[in-house]
Symmetry: C2
C-alpha cells in the first residue's frame, strides 16, 4: 500500500511539474517538447478529450496526454469506434475540434469519409516509427512489408483536407499549426504523423503566444459591392418575397449569429434543410420547419417553392439532405451563400464568403421588414395520433417522444427523415451519417463539457451493433446517456426487398450493460417496452426522467413497420440505383 | 402459411433455375451476368463463403450471392469485422481466396494492410454507384461530397496489389480475371469495383471454360543452371553442413511439397520462422523447432547460427518474425529462395523462382544425404512445470494446453512468442497479426469446409473486444470454436510502463454469448477457470472435449504476468522505438 501511495504521489508530482512547465511554455518563457506543443495548441482550441488506441508508435505521446492537466485520454476498443467518438465530440462541441490518436498503419477510413463530407473538423494524429526508421525502412509490424512507409499518408490524402508528416523538430511547430488552422478553417479532417523520436524533442514555445484562428481570406470590396447590389435589386424586384433556407454549413462555418441578425432585421421567413436543423432557434416565430424537396411536409414544400427568392445559406446538397435531389427551386430564383463563394442566379462569385457578406446584406435588405413580416409561416404541430393498436408504431412513436424532450437535451440520430415528425423547443439533434454508439461516447463527453443536458440517442439495433463496445467505455467514464434502441427483430429498416442478407442477429439488449462490466447495474438501467402504454409510463417515470445512470430503452416494433419519411427516402434511393432497369434474379427466366 | 410456403417454393425454384443457368454458363453454352461471372470464378477458386455488409450499392450483387447454389453469404456486424473474417478464411483455406463485399465509401483499411504485408490472397469487391452516376458525380451518401468518385480506389491502391474499376460490360470478364489471377499469383489483396448497373448485364461466358491459374513466369534456363551450379559448389565446400529455414512464403507460395522433397532427398535439418510454422510437418524427425533470432530457444539458436550454410525458403523478415531483426547469420552463409528471386550470398538473381528451382536443387544436393543425416537436431520437449502456486501462470499454461490438442485442430493466435512453449503433432497454428474474433469467424468456416477438426482461438481480453460482435454471427451460423480468453484484469500484456492508457474495460465474459443472442445457452457454453486445477479438470472434461457447442474459457491470470518470449519481444520493440533516448515525462525536471 505504501508503495502504491508513493507511486500515486509521484504521479501527482509529475503532473504538477508538467502543468507549471506547460503554463510557462504558453507564455513563451521556455522551450517545450513537440508533443506538448501540440497538446497546448489543442488545449487552446478547447479540446478536453482525446480519443484513440495505444500502440507501440504512439505510447510516448500518450504518456504526455495522460499527464496533461486538462486533456483527458479516452481509450476506445478499436480504431473505428475511437474515430466515431472523436467525430461525435467534434459535432457537439462547436468551435473546437475532435482529436483522434492511432498508431502507424492501424486506422479506419470510413469515419474520415463521413467527417470529410459532412464537414467535421478533426485532427487525426498518427504515431509513426522514428525518423531514422522512416529512412532505413525496416520491415516493422504495421508496415506493408515492402518499404513503402508513405502508403498510409497517401491513402489519407484522399479523405483528409491536408496532411503533415513531421520529419524534424525545426518545422514541427509550423507544420502542426498549418494543419490545425486548415481543420478549423475548412471544417474538415486533417492528418498529422508524429515519429516516436520527435515526441520529446524540445522546440521554441514562442509561437504559442498567438492562438490559432481561422484563415478566412477577406472578400474583395469591389466584387462584394457588386454582389450586394445585384442581390438587393433582385429582392427589390421580388418585393421582399424571400425565404431563407439554412443548411449544415451555417453551423460548420459559424455564421449562426450573422444569420440570426439577418432574420431579425429583414423579417424573412426561415426554413432549414435536415442537416441545418438547429442552425436557427426552432422556437423562433418566423421558423417554419424543415424543407427536404419532395419528402417535405406539403405545407412547407408549398411555401418554400412558391417564394420569389430562396436565399440559401451554407447548403450541402447531398441525396439524403435534399430528398434525393428533389428540390423544386429554379436556379433563377436562388441566391446561394457559402463560406468561400456566392452564387446569384446563374452567376458565380468566387472568393465572396458569407461571413462578411451576411451583415452587409442584413443592412441592405432591412427595409423589406415591413412587407416580409406579413408572409405567413406554417405552424408545425404533430399531435400524438390515436391508433387502435397498442403496438408501438413509427407513426405514434416520434410525436410521442417529442413531448419528452427538455430544452437542453442533446439528441443524436442518423434518421434524417425524422424531421417530418418532430419539433420541440431548442431542438438540437445532430443529424449525421455516422451516428452510432461510438459517436455517442464523444457526444456525451462533449455535451457534459459544454454544459448541455441529457444526451439522447435514437438508434436501430443494427447500427447499435456496429460500434457496441463503446458502451463499456461510457460505463467506465460514468456517462449517463439515454439510448432508445429500436428493435424490429433483426431486420434492416430500409430494406426494399425481404432478402435474408438484410437480417441481423437479434441480441438480448437488456443484459448488454451487465456483460460490458456493470454486473450489478450500479451505473446503468435497461428497459424493454412492447406497448404504447409501457413506453408512455416509462416516459413519465421519475427514476427514468432523472437520468442519473446510463439507460437503454429497447423499443420493440413490428418487423416491417417503417416511418413514412424513410420509406420515401428509400424509394428515391432505389430509383437512382440501376438494378431495376434490368432483370433481377427473382424474375429469372 | 400457404403464402409463406409459396414464397419458399418460388425461392427454391429461382435457385434451381439459377443453378441450371450457372452450370450452362460454365460450359460456355450461354451468356452470363457480370455478377454471376464473378461468382463462378470465385466458385472455381474454391470459395464457399463471402463476407461483408449489405449497402445500397451492393444489394443487387448480394441478391445473386444469396441465390447462389454453393456460395454462402456471411454478413458481419461491420466492415472491419467482415474484413477480418475474410482474412481468417483465406489463411486457413490455402489454395483458395478470401472474398469481402462492401459498399462504396464504407471500408476499412487496417485489415488490408495486414493481408498485404502477410501475403493473404483476398478479393475486396466494392459495390459502387452506377456508371452514369460515376460520370455525373452527384453528391450521393457515402461520397466525399466534392465529386471525387475515384478517391477510394486511390486509397485502396496503397494497400492492395492491383485494382480494377469496372466501367462497361465489354472488358468486365477480362478485368475480373486479371485481378483474381494477381491475387492468387502474388498472394495479396486486390480491389474490384462493381457499379450497380453492371451487375446484371449479360456477357459471354466462354472464358469460364478455362480455370484461372497462377501467372508464374518461368525461370530462364541459362540463369537457373548458373544458380544451381553456384549453390551446389557452396554446399560441397560446406560438406553438406546445411540447415533449411522455412518461413511464411513457403505456405503462401505453395512450395510445401517441393520443400518436403528436398528435405527427404538431402536429409538436411529443418527449422521454421514463427510465421513458417506448419510449413513442414512438425512430427518430421529432422525438424528442430522455431528459429527467431535472439529470442529462439538457446539450443535452436546455436544449431541454426553455427551451420555453414542456411538455406532460407520463403522468408518474411518482419520485426516480430525475426526477434526484432536479431538473426545472427552472415549473408555469406545464406542462400535465400523466394517466389520470384534467388539470392546466393551477396548475388541477386531476379526472375529465378523457388517453385521450379527446388526440385532441381533436391536432385543436385541429394548426394549429401549420407553426411547431412548425421547432423543432430535438438529435441523439443516442454514438460509442464511444477510450481508452488495454484495460480495459472504463462510458464505453466502453454505447456499444459499443448497436451490438449488433437492432430486436426486448427489453432489461431497472434502470439508469435508462443513457439517457445509449444510443440504438438501436426501443429497448424496460424500466426498472424490480425487474429481476433473476426478472423475466427472466417477461420472456423474454412476449417469446417476443408475437413479439419476443432477451431481453437487464444486471445487476450483486449483483442477479443476489438471485433467482439462476430461471436453473434458464429452463434447464428452454428459454429463451435473453442475460445481461450486470457483475462488479466484489463491490462495490455505488452505494456512496458504501467500507464493507465493500457487499461481496458473488464467485461463479464461468461454472460457474453447470452447477450449476443444465445439466451438459453442452447448453442454455447462458457467457463471461468481461476486455478491450475480448474483448468486441468476442464481440459479433461468429456463434455468440454466433445466441442459440440461454441465454448469460451475465461482464463484468469495475474495482472502483470507475461510469457518470457513476449517480454523479450516487447523489450526489443521498445529499444527500437526512440522514446527512451530522450527525457520522458516521469523524469521531467
Amino acid at each position: 500500500m505504501s508503495s502504491q501511495l508513493s507511486t500515486a504521489l509521484q504521479a501527482e508530482l509529475n503532473r504538477l511539474k508538467l502543468e507549471v512547465h506547460s503554463l510557462r511554455s504558453q507564455q513563451g518563457a521556455e522551450q517545450i517538447t513537440v508533443g506538448n506543443y501540440l497538446l497546448t495548441r489543442l488545449e487552446q482550441l478547447g479540446v478536453t478529450c482525446m480519443f484513440g488506441i495505444p500502440g507501440d508508435f504512439n505510447l510516448g505521446f500518450l504518456d504526455l496526454v495522460e499527464d496533461h492537466p486538462t486533456i483527458k485520454w479516452v481509450g476506445g476498443c478499436n480504431e473505428l469506434n475511437a474515430a466515431y467518438a472523436s467525430d461525435g465530440y467534434s459535432r457537439v462541441k462547436e468551435h473546437s475540434i475532435g482529436a483522434l490518436v492511432t498508431t502507424f498503419g492501424a486506422f479506419d477510413f470510413d469515419y474520415t469519409r463521413t467527417a470529410f463530407s459532412e464537414m467535421v473538423p478533426l485532427l487525426h494524429l498518427v504515431g509513426v516509427p522514428s525518423t531514422s526508421q522512416q529512412t532505413s525502412k525496416p520491415m516493422l509490424h504495421h508496415t506493408l512489408g515492402d518499404g513503402r512507409y508513405d502508403a498510409y499518408i497517401k491513402a489519407a490524402q484522399q479523405v483528409t483536407f491536408s496532411q503533415a508528416m513531421l520529419h524534424n523538430k525545426n518545422d514541427a511547430a509550423a507544420e502542426i499549426d498549418r494543419v490545425l488552422i486548415d481543420a478549423i478553417t475548412v471544417a474538415r479532417p486533417v492528418y498529422l504523423s508524429l515519429p516516436t523520436d520527435l515526441v520529446n524533442e524540445k522546440i521554441d514555445s514562442e509561437r504559442l503566444r498567438i492562438p490559432l484562428s481561422r484563415n478566412q481570406p477577406q472578400n474583395d470590396p469591389q466584387v462584394e459591392c457588386y454582389v450586394l447590389d445585384l442581390i438587393a435589386n433582385l429582392v427589390n424586384d421580388a418585393h421582399g418575397d424571400v425565404v431563407v433556407l439554412v443548411d449544415a454549413c451555417t453551423i460548420r462555418h459559424d455564421v449562426r449569429g450573422e444569420v440570426g441578425e439577418l432574420l431579425k432585421k429583414t423579417g424573412f421567413p426561415v426554413y432549414a434543410a435536415p442537416m441545418g436543423k438547429t442552425a436557427v432557434d426552432e422556437t423562433y416565430e418566423r421558423y417554419g420547419g424543415i424543407y427536404c424537396g419532395s419528402i417535405s411536409r406539403p405545407e412547407v414544400k408549398e411555401k418554400v417553392e412558391s417564394a420569389k427568392i430562396v436565399l440559401s445559406v451554407g447548403s450541402m446538397r447531398s441525396d439524403f439532405n435534399t430528398g434525393g435531389f428533389s428540390y423544386n427551386i429554379p436556379t433563377k430564383r436562388t441566391i446561394e451563400l457559402h463560406s468561400g463563394v456566392t452564387k446569384v442566379q446563374f452567376a458565380v462569385f468566387p472568393g465572396i464568403g458569407m461571413k462578411e457578406l451576411l451583415p452587409k446584406l442584413a443592412e441592405r435588405l432591412s427595409h423589406h421588414h415591413e412587407n416580409a413580416i406579413k408572409i405567413p409561416v406554417p405552424k408545425f404541430v404533430t399531435p400524438v395520433p390515436k391508433e387502435d393498436t397498442n403496438t408501438i408504431t413509427h407513426a405514434w412513436l416520434w410525436p410521442r417522444v417529442g413531448t419528452f424532450f427538455k430544452p437542453k437535451d442533446e439528441r443524436l440520430t442518423s434518421a434524417f427523415w425524422m424531421f417530418r415528425y418532430l419539433r420541440s423547443p431548442v431542438w438540437s439533434t445532430k443529424f449525421c451519417g455516422a451516428v452510432s454508439d461510438g459517436s455517442l461516447l464523444g457526444a456525451a463527453l462533449a455535451t457534459k463539457d459544454v454544459g448541455l443536458g441529457r444526451t439522447i440517442l435514437f438508434v436501430g439495433d443494427g447500427s447499435a451493433q456496429l460500434t457496441v463496445q463503446e458502451f463499456s467505455v461510457m460505463l467506465e467514464n460514468g456517462l449517463k446517456p439515454i439510448i432508445f434502441l429500436l428493435n424490429n427483430y433483426g431486420t434492416q429498416l430500409t430494406s426494399q426487398t425481404r432478402r435474408k442478407y438484410n437480417d441481423i442477429p437479434n441480441w438480448n439488449w437488456t443484459s448488454l450493460f451487465k456483460t460490458l462490466g456493470d454486473t450489478e447495474e450500479k451505473r446503468s438501467r435497461t428497459y424493454t417496452v412492447r406497448t404504447k402504454d409501457e413506453l408512455s409510463s416509462l416516459l413519465n417515470d421519475q427514476t427514468f426522467l432523472a437520468a442519473d445512470k446510463m439507460q437503454l430503452v429497447e423499443v420493440m416494433m413490428e418487423k416491417h413497420d417503417a416511418p413514412k419519411g424513410l420509406q420515401m427516402q428509400a424509394e428515391l434511393s432505389a430509383r437512382s440505383n440501376a438494378y431495376d432497369k434490368v432483370m433481377r434474379p427473382t424474375s429469372f427466366a
